[in-house]
């Protein structure tokens, strides 16, 4: 059973998504139970894969071969699709599992039956499976396919609230950007295939020589993935999508964006790690990251829509991660390692804090019927828990010391300062500005006189928010423990794990 | 035997070309449909018949399959082409395209 854990973590949610509609025709309670079972099983499998990857090294699973480890044929080249999970992939799997479980707990009471709950659950499972497939795969074309699964499932979820106009518009915009990004990735895959007649990441990584075409492919891959992640020149879709998607989808969308960052890491450090991972690309990514941070924070100042405000906050956090990746690439080892530690640790912190904020926004939308800041106010009188969670998430987002955001952001600032003090100063400034923005949002929405009636969120939604709050607090209190246990293997997999990855997939 | 193929092919390409040029020469939609449908269908019949003859000449399962499948394609062309043209002509008339220089238009009178 555990041998098959990587594929079961992907195939079981797919099977669940396919069967969910059929089960929902029979009985709704049965469907809920079935969905819970699938979700629990999937996250258990993700955790199992993570444990194996952290303890035994790279987990390899060959699809369709006589045995899972038989990844290469007699000639020494892989022909079948290989799942290869190293520390980084396992870490991303954990983030996806966290996001998925929280989203599931949340959505059972958030979605309404008459709005198409079965379809929404099904799409959520598909999105989840897509993210897991993206981070576990060791095959470039397969990566593209799962990228498209996440694109389509995410866009369908963003357009979930069809009785309004703006979700559909946001979804259309997102769809266009995602599809373009996916097509750029596909062109890059085609170029690499045409040059080396292979699709396996490890085999390609060994074969890549750094020719002109390889540079072209690297540029296309980075362009497509940055489009998918929502970095600055292509960030227009992200606030709309985050702001208009239903809350439980948003947290998985955040995980999806981080999967794009994961892919950038994979491409830069593993696929092109041998030939083309030059500091120039690192500076490019870092400058894009700082631009994303600044633009997003400046845009967040003027927002009057709570969801979009938080969405811009989420985009700025993405910028921090890109900054860390860039700095890590500028100096491989030394302070680069610190930067990567901060960046990768920031991924899970970001998923927790931004996710918590979005869940609160969803609860507010459900309770008050609107998320326009001028029309809100005084919600703290009735929504006590939500107010507390919002404050917690906001402080974590801004990086206030006892919370988890501080630990990772501090690492990023420190390393960035050593690379370029100006960048570090800009990042710090943006962080302070962000703090002001979220505190103003908190004050506008939850404090002050009571503007309208609101009913508190049901218990299931509170439990989901509570899990994330717990993650924020625990990670903030014991950052060293988690960095050592789960972040450090991922960082090592990025920085020095390329040889181990190639050896595990290609044998010898 | 080759002479037969060449003859059929020559007739087929000639009429297909006639259809394409009729498409360019005629003044309005209906006359273009006339030219295009009649000539391309007739030309395609001959072109495909050349292939059918070739298939039967080759013989065996391979040639037989070639001939049969080509005949099937021909059959589809024969029943779908005029129908599609009819649908287009009817649609054009309903969309308000008048026949150029028509001496009589009974369908217009009917409405």
């Amino acid at each position: 059973m555990l041998v098959h854990a990587p594929i079961l973590a992907i195939a079981v949610p797919l099977l669940g998504a396919f069967s969910l509609l059929g089960v929902s025709y029979i009985n709704r309670t049965l469907r809920n139970v079935w969905a819970c079972l699938i979700a629990a099983f999937t996250s258990a499998m993700a955790v199992a894969v993570a444990i194996r990857a952290f303890t035994e090294g790279v987990v390899v699973y060959t699809l369709g071969a006589a045995s899972p480890t038989e990844s290469v044929t007699a000639g020494g080249f892989p022909i079948r699709i290989v799942l290869a999970v190293d520390g980084l992939g396992a870490f991303m799997g954990l983030i996806a599992a966290l996001a998925g479980v929280v989203a599931f707990i949340y959505c059972f009471q958030y979605l309404r039956e008459e709005e198409g709950k079965s379809l929404g659950l099904s799409l959520l499972l598909l999105l989840w499976a897509g993210i897991l497939g993206m981070v576990y795969t060791g095959d470039l074309f397969n990566f593209f396919v799962f990228l498209e699964i996440t694109s389509i499932a995410a866009c369908a979820l963003i357009g979930y609230r069809v009785w309004e106009s703006r979700p559909a518009e946001a979804a259309f915009k997102t769809m266009a950007m995602y599809t373009l990004g996916g097509l750029l990735v596909l062109i890059a895959v085609g170029i690499l295939y045409g040059e080396y007649d292979a699709l396996n990441i490890a085999y390609l990584s060994k074969a890549i020589t750094g020719s002109l075409l390889d540079r072209l492919a690297l540029g296309l891959l980075l362009g497509g993935l940055l489009m998918k992640a929502g970095a600055v020149p292509a960030h227009m879709w992200a606030p709309d999508a985050y702001g208009e998607a239903p809350a439980m989808a948003t947290i998985v969308l955040v995980a999806n964006t981080q999967a794009a960052i994961y892919a950038i890491l994979r491409v830069v450090f593993t696929l092109f790690g041998g030939a083309l991972a030059s500091p120039g690309i690192g500076w490019l990514i870092a400058s894009l990251g700082i631009a994303t941070v600044l633009v997003a924070v400046l845009m967040a100042v003027v927002q009057r829509h709570l969801g979009r405000l938080i969405a811009y906050g989420a985009v700025s956090q993405l910028g921090y991660m890109l900054l860390a990746v860039g700095v890590g690439l500028v100096a491989r080892g030394g302070f680069g390692e610190v930067a990567l530690t901060g960046g990768i640790f920031h991924m899970i912190n970001d998923a927790a804090s931004v996710g918590l904020l979005f869940l609160v926004v969803g609860a507010v939308r459900r309770a008050a019927g609107s998320v326009d800041l001028p029309s809100l106010g005084g919600l703290g009188h009735t929504l006590r828990w939500e107010a507390g969670f919002f404050l917690l998430g906001a402080l974590a987002l801004a990086g206030i010391p006892p919370l988890n955001g501080f630990a990772s952001k501090f690492l990023i600032y420190e390393s960035t300062f050593r690379a370029s003090p100006i960048l570090a100063a800009l990042a710090l400034l943006a962080s302070i500005l962000l703090l002001a923005v979220v505190v103003r949002a908190f004050q506008g929405a939850f404090l002050g006189p009571r503007a309208r009636e609101a009913s508190p969120a049901p218990r299931g939604m509170l439990v989901a928010m509570g899990i994330l709050a717990l993650v924020i607090i625990v990670f903030g209190l014991f950052p060293g423990f988690f960095i050592e246990r789960i972040v450090s293997p991922a960082v090592q997999a990025v920085l020095t794990g390329r040889e181990a990855y190639l050896a595990a997939v290609l044998g010898g | 035997m080759s002479a037969l193929f060449y003859l059929l092919l020559a007739i087929g390409t000639a009429f297909n070309g006639l259809g394409a040029f009729a498409l360019m020469r005629f003044p309005d939609v209906y006359t273009r449909i006339h030219g295009a449908t009649k000539c391309t269908t007739f030309g395609s019949i001959f072109s495909i018949l050349a292939v059918v003859a070739y298939g039967f000449y080759k013989g065996g399962g391979e040639g037989g399959t070639l001939a049969l499948h080509a005949l099937l394609a021909l059959f589809f062309l024969l029943i779908t082409n005029p129908t599609g043209s009819h649908a287009l002509a009817r649609a054009a008339h309903r969309a308000g395209v008048k026949p150029v220089g028509a001496v009589v238009d009974r369908l217009e009178e009917k409405k």
Binding site: - | D28, T37, H69
Partner: protein
């Protein structure tokens, strides 16, 4: 009962098409047993959704074999000849540009769908004429005539013997 008949007819039709497609697949016989079984299954299943479309009341007369022989004879003989004539006619019109178009109406007195379809498609493929519309109730044909000789023609003037053939084959 009629429902079952429609289903059976559709199934047989699908089966025949499938068998034509897979001719010469067997080693000794024309079809291998696998193909026969697979075709049967496909025909039985595929006929379920299509039965109500394929079969209409009064189609049974199309199953008489002499109509098929007539149809093939018609295809090879008069139809093919007038098609050839049609093409030279188009060539003549393309070169000289001599046209006097118009849409005329005539009443061929055909009742069944298949007869009307056969006539319409024949008209479209033969000299100087193109079916534009068919009146569902009265069965009147509206034909675009590339060189109108008579604004109110009899059927024979427009399309020669085709209505008689259509009646013989499909009515």
């Amino acid at each position: 009962m009629r429902k079952w008949g429609a289903w059976a007819a559709s199934a047989v039709f699908i089966y025949i098409v499938y068998l034509i497609l897979t001719l010469w697949t067997g080693k000794l016989g024309l079809w291998s047993p696998g193909e026969l079984i697979a075709g049967a299954v496909i025909a039985v299943l595929g006929a379920i959704p299509l039965a109500e479309v394929v079969w209409k009341r009064g189609d049974a007369r199309l199953l008489q074999p002499h109509r098929w022989i007539l149809f093939i004879f018609y295809l090879i003989g008069p139809f093919f000849l007038s098609m050839a004539r049609a093409n030279f006619d188009v060539a003549y019109r393309v070169i000289t540009g001599k046209i006097k178009p118009g849409i005329v109406r005539f009443q061929p007195h055909l009742k069944t769908d298949f007869a009307r379809t056969l006539l319409a498609n024949s008209i479209t493929l033969t000299p100087g004429t193109l079916t534009v519309d068919v009146d569902d109730d009265t069965g009147e044909f509206y034909v675009h005539w590339i060189y109108v000789r008579n604004p109110d023609p009899r059927p024979e003037e427009v399309c020669g013997p085709f209505p008689a053939w259509a009646r013989r084959i499909a009515e």
